[in-house]
């Protein structure tokens, strides 16, 4: 028994050529016996009548007549759906045709998603403008990475709440590093796929761990940066909790490493509680007093995975003896600076800084300290209006020269971060500056070189260039710091 659908659709117009094609396609569909899709002119209506259809009375030439007869209901529904699809206005994507007009790029994130499809939205516009683009991403069902910093915290919370409602992830703001689907975003490294998934509230901390894992021959499933404030009491770990769940659900992830500065206590408890419920083991690398350093946490993760812990690469210079004087750290990476301060303060006591471990140790970054001191050149106060020191080293090079002129300086500790997004050849600038510094007062220079063999800057070449001017180069920031501390005999 045949079934049929006949309707006259008001206000739906398509030209006759289009309609002939739609009719022909409908007639060819499986199970369809007859079909007329045409404007309801007298001619077309009489044709439909001749084919045994009964068009609705009153249908006019401005109405679209859709008449389909099929063997059964399923074939009819399928054919009707195809007709509707063929008649629907073509969505934006199809507009790739259309003559010689130069294509203008989409002007908003929403427009880009509408024309090019969903994806991971990467936002690096100035922080005060980032909210609008992030809302576009979430409204369109896309996860979003906010590289921008200086986003007001209430905006961060609002975005993360919205993401939670929609089952999406907000990486950042101030998310410097992520690896998704093998693609490194922001400051990142080319790493092999592997069993470790990182949740990182710290960009350079994650980079250190990624590079150590690469040196150990262990790859990474994903790195989800959540932003430096995510584990604060205000933000409450909203993204970290979602990222933990996502990685636990990821079949490629055998172990999860959470990298952060020490979180707010309540947030830490929530994280550990969630971690305890997951099928995937979770290790914590929370840079701070009484916590394992990044290298130690990486080693523990390797052991959990049953992998060998290698000797971390180092490129020592000629033998240097201990020095009397002060340790000066000049860092591009905030977490690397933190880690170095934690280690050094246990050995040397007071370490002053623009990001001090203890508020009493605060140091104006432009002042010269009379104690051991470490400066984070990536801190907001020193990056306003200029690129990050991982890209623009000029401020750090100036300070290096100034420290070398200070007779109290015994040891200078530096980090050099390679990878995507970083300076294309940092050693080319740094090596001559180190050579000049050593020529002046012969301080001991120690470098943490954060990079992998696959990084575009060529890790070995960078290491040798620094080694050649007398710097002691380490792949582990913790080892570099301990080496520096070992060579301080006492303050002057």
């Amino acid at each position: 028994m045949s079934v049929e659908r006949v309707e006259a659709r008001a206000g739906a117009y398509a030209d006759s050529v289009t309609l002939m094609q739609v009719s022909a396609d409908a007639r060819r569909a499986d199970g369809v016996e007859a079909a007329v899709i045409a404007m309801a002119t007298d001619l077309n209506v009489s044709m439909a009548v001749a084919m045994g259809f009964r068009p609705p009375p009153g249908a006019s030439q401005n109405d679209l007549l859709i008449a389909i007869r099929a063997h059964d209901g399923r074939a009819l529904a399928a054919a009707a759906a195809e007709v509707d699809a063929a008649l629907a206005g073509r969505p934006g994507r199809a507009a790739a045709g259309g003559g010689t007009a130069p294509f203008e790029s989409p002007r908003t994130t929403g427009s880009a998603i509408r024309t090019d499809g969903q994806g991971l939205v990467l936002i690096s516009v100035p922080g005060r403008y980032a909210f609008a683009e992030a809302i576009d991403a979430l409204d369109a069902g896309c996860d979003v990475m906010i590289f921008s910093d200086n986003m007001p915290i209430e905006q961060e919370v609002r975005l993360k709440d919205l993401a939670a409602e929609r089952g999406l992830l907000v990486l950042g703001p101030d998310c410097g590093t992520a690896i998704v689907g093998g693609v490194g975003l922001g400051f990142s490294h080319t790493v092999e796929p592997g069993p470790v998934g990182l949740v990182a509230a710290s960009g350079t901390g994650a980079q250190q761990v990624l590079c150590l894992l690469a040196h150990a021959g262990v790859g990474v499933s994903a790195t989800l940066g959540v932003g430096g404030r995510d584990l604060s009491a205000e933000v409450g770990g909203r993204s970290a909790l979602a990222a933990l769940a996502a990685l636990d659900d990821d079949p490629a992830t055998d172990l999860i490493l959470v990298i952060s500065k020490p979180p707010a206590p309540l947030v830490a408890r929530q994280l550990r509680e969630l971690a305890a419920t997951l099928a995937t083991p979770v290790e914590f690398a929370l840079v701070g007093r009484g916590e394992p350093d990044l290298t130690a946490a990486t080693e523990r993760a390797l052991r959990t995975l049953g992998r060998a812990v290698p000797a971390w690469p180092r490129w020592p210079a000629h033998r240097d003896g201990p020095r009397n004087g002060l340790l000066r750290g000049l860092f591009a990476g905030g977490t690397l600076c933190d880690e170095a301060m934690v280690i050094a303060s246990q050995r040397l006591g007071r370490v002053e800084s623009n990001i001090p471990l203890d508020p009493a140790w605060h140091l104006d970054p432009h002042a010269v300290a009379s104690t051991h001191a470490m400066i984070d050149f990536g801190d907001d106060q020193l990056t306003a209006g200029r690129a990050h020191p991982m890209i623009d080293q000029s401020l750090r090079l100036e300070r290096l020269a100034a420290q070398a002129r200070d007779p109290a300086t015994a040891i200078i500790l530096l980090d050099v971060v390679l990878g995507h997004g970083a300076h294309p050849d940092p050693a080319a600038e740094l090596a001559p500056a180190i050579a000049a510094a050593r020529g002046r007062s012969d301080p001991l220079v120690v470098v943490s070189l954060i990079g992998t063999e696959s990084d575009p800057q060529d890790l070995r070449r960078q290491a040798r260039a620094l080694q050649a001017v007398g710097a002691h180069v380490f792949a582990s920031n913790a080892q570099a710091t301990r080496f520096a501390c070992d060579h301080i005999t006492r303050a002057p």
Partner: protein, 469 residues
């Protein structure tokens, strides 16, 4: 839960080229956003409005209502009957204004209309009455009506009555007089008044009889078809006009009116390529009125000009007008007229752009590309640019040259503020001296300030405690 870890990497990058390039260097598919800072001073209002939890659903509702509306021409009536206008009351285009602030074309149209109504012996006498405050003025938009150019409606003028069959909502518009020396462009010479009298005594009643006899005319259907036949329904209405004639002719010739009246009516309509504009406009008005008063919606529901000020209204802010001085169009001029002769932007006809037609459908009207720079490519680019500031693509208004993509419809105040892209309006130009008439046609945009002003009001509404529904 996010499926971020299960997808092929496609990165949409807004911001640093360094980061986009680095992702591309790792063989990821990258889409770049050509991001620029928003309009000055809008940052914090944008955040408040975009964070408004009502926004997404409110805009979806406003769009759904706009796109669902259908317009049928169901009747013609004198304005006194349709709108209850009384002698001495006049409607005009654009946001509210007064005789003191009225531009030349609006003054000219009011003077002519007063003579037509028999309120003054001649235009100068009409002006004197107006000076004494003898006329009551109100915007068409406040009465479910729209009028092109000066947009003056007086009680004796006949109006098209359009109705949305689903809701019963109605919208009204005057009958189009043709081009050149016409009232809507501010002309008031005797030929203008004579034509108005003929329109009120013959054209209106005859069309009324034809529509009542022949049944409603599906204006939305004609709009959908004309967009595929070279009209954008603002500056080009040639196909729409002919399709209207096609639809009403059978009942027009069957009326009991003298053959000479029928003949003159048919040649009047057929000889006026813009006749259908006055049906396109109220059809758009019906659709946008359906989208009004949706709390939290950032969609523009009216753009209108009175020759002095340009105003917009927004779905989320009720009847409030956001106004700034109107700009003067740039374009092509009739005869010896030049830019110095043109009055600032005037008319309710930007309701077509507000609904996704006119300048927004420029890509559908290659015949008038000279208005937008001369090439078809410019026309395509003009329409494409409007997708950046709109919420939807109109499923009925499909552009063949864009592979049948729907026209950009539903202007979003936040997108205008974010991109700085202003709506493109195709328009006629009136002479700035009262009595002149049309001097040209061209392009114009709203003054940019109206959008930050509307955004501010939306931000205040977003911050305010929820009112009872």
């Amino acid at each position: 839960m996010t499926d971020l870890l299960r997808r092929e990497p496609h990165v949409i990058s807004a911001g640093l080229e360094l980061l986009a390039g680095a992702a591309e260097g790792q063989a990821a598919r990258v889409t770049r956003v050509d991001w620029k800072p928003p309009m000055p001073g809008t940052e914090s209002d944008l955040v408040r409005v975009l964070a408004d939890r009502r926004r997404a659903a409110a805009n979806a509702l406003a769009i759904r209502r706009m796109l669902a509306a259908r317009a049928q021409l169901v009747d013609l009536l004198p304005a006194r009957d349709a709108l209850g206008l009384r002698p001495g009351e006049f409607l005009h285009a654009g946001p509210p204004t007064s005789w003191e602030r009225a531009a030349g074309p609006l003054r000219g149209a009011l003077m002519g209309a007063a003579v037509f109504e028999g309120l003054a012996a001649d235009p100068q006498a009409a002006a004197a009455v107006a000076e004494r405050g003898g006329f009551a003025l109100d915007p068409c938009h406040a009465h479910h009506a729209v009028g092109p150019m000066a947009g003056v409606i007086s009680p004796s003028m006949w109006l098209f009555v359009l109705e949305d069959p689903a809701s019963g909502r109605r919208a009204y518009c005057s009958l189009n007089e043709g081009l050149g020396k016409v009232l809507r462009y501010g002309a008031y010479s005797p030929e203008v008044i004579d034509r108005l009298r003929w329109m009120a005594s013959v054209l209106g009643p005859l069309l009324q009889a034809a529509v009542r006899a022949g049944g409603p005319v599906d204006v939305t259907a004609i709009l959908a078809q004309m967009v595929q036949m070279g009209d954008e329904a603002h500056n080009r209405n040639r196909t729409g006009t002919l399709m209207l004639l096609r639809d009403v002719l059978p009942s027009l010739v069957a009326t009991s009116f003298p053959a000479s009246d029928v003949s003159r009516t048919v040649s009047f309509i057929g000889g006026n390529d813009h006749f259908f504009l006055n049906l396109a406009m109220p059809a758009c008005k019906l659709a946008l009125d359906a989208a009004r008063d949706v709390r939290g919606s950032t969609m523009v529901v009216a753009m209108a000009r009175n020759g002095t000020d340009f105003g917009i209204q927004v779905a989320g802010t009720g009847d409030q007008w956001f106004t700034a001085p109107a700009l003067t169009p740039r374009g092509l001029f009739l005869g010896d007229y030049g830019p110095a002769d043109a009055n600032p932007d005037i008319g309710d006809s930007a309701i077509t752009e507000t609904a996704g037609l006119g300048g927004f459908a420029m890509a559908a009207a290659p015949a008038i590309v000279r208005l937008v720079g001369g090439s078809v490519a410019d026309a395509l680019a003009a329409t494409r640019r409007m997708y950046e500031i709109t919420l939807a693509e109109h499923p009925l208004f499909q552009v063949p040259a864009l592979d049948f993509r729907g026209t950009p419809a539903g202007i979003d105040v936040t997108l205008v503020a974010r991109t700085g892209i202003l709506p493109q309006i195709n328009t006629g130009m009136a002479g700035k001296v009262a009595g002149t008439g049309q001097v040209g046609a061209g392009l114009v945009t709203p003054p940019a300030e109206v959008f930050p002003a509307a955004l501010r009001a939306l931000a205040e509404a977003a911050a305010a405690p929820a009112e009872p529904a």
